[in-house]
């Protein structure tokens, strides 16, 4: 006989997103989320540090993938080549979850506290990638700038990837954004009007 239903963490994740979508983040109380899956508010806080973290605690997987990709690039590669390779190899982690990403992103975009948490996660990602570059022997500030470039391209591309009507793969959008970025950093004149 099971004393508790298994997978409490996952059930809380699913229920939270659903309630945030249906009735809004602010209007949803933690007790409500917990009760909807047969748990108490106190137990929610044993699974997640706070009310926001329930939407973000899977991000370390993506972070590990980026760090591993940067570490795995062939020695002697230019930082920008490493960035391109890391973007290409991590895109698959999200490719199959576009509908879920859209749903989640809509909730985050509508609530300032959630935006703040997302930005913190991106900053953490940037810091981890910068450290991976330093491990490759790239000195600061180049390591920091390479990491910022990587996350900027990822974030801009991700925003386009989940836009209405966008059908290209994340990897493709990332490639195009990175190309445009390179061009921007070398162009001396704007396109004539």
């Amino acid at each position: 006989m099971v004393r508790w239903e298994p997978g409490a963490t996952d059930r809380l994740r699913v229920a939270a997103l659903e309630l945030y979508v249906q009735q809004g983040y602010e209007q949803t109380t933690v007790g409500e989320i917990a009760k909807s899956v047969g748990l108490t508010e106190r137990t929610f806080f044993r699974h997640f540090a706070d009310k926001r973290e329930v939407l973000f605690d899977g991000e370390d997987l993506l972070q590990h993938a980026f760090v591993a990709a940067v570490a795995a690039a062939p020695p002697g590669s230019a930082p920008l080549e490493v960035v391109a390779a890391a973007l290409a190899s991590t895109a698959q982690h999200l490719e199959e979850r576009r509908p879920w990403s859209r749903k989640r992103n809509q909730v985050i975009a509508a609530n300032q506290p959630l935006k703040e948490r997302e930005l913190l996660k991106l900053a953490s990602l940037t810091a981890a990638i910068a450290e991976a570059f330093r491990q490759r022997g790239v000195p600061d500030p180049a390591a920091a700038l390479a990491a910022e470039t990587c996350v900027t391209v990822f974030a801009v591309a991700f925003g386009q990837w989940i836009a209405d009507g966008e059908t290209r793969s994340l990897a493709t959008v990332e490639r195009d954004i990175l190309a445009e970025f390179k061009q921007l950093m070398t162009a001396l004149e704007t396109a004539e009007p």
Copy 2:
């Protein structure tokens, strides 16, 4: 006869930073800040949206300066030239406040909720600059990338500017970081070991 001491907002700002420095952000209650300048907790929340905002509500000045600088650049300038000009013209807003910036930054760096708010402010700055580029006729995603570049250089340079032992001006550090960024985006090989 004055019913209230004037400058309540400023007094709260000063008292808050002082208390955050002396006894830590978490250990300081809003009631404590307010009481230390002869006001009540309720009044604090009439001047600032929340406990964090008291450290950040001056940032719109910087944002306006960046937007104005982008708008004021000569027509036909390459986006990167505009970025360089905006960085140069806004640096003066901080040049004279390095000790204060160091003090404030130490508090922010030590507390996750404050880091989150700072990142949100930087994201807001990025969005405003991107909009200013669009007003110049720069299309997306170039406008977004130019804005990200501007804020990235500013943030990296600012971090170096307040580092221990750093004596160069903010404008100088920004120029150097931007130059390194350009080089990174065009270099094909890492420097030989």
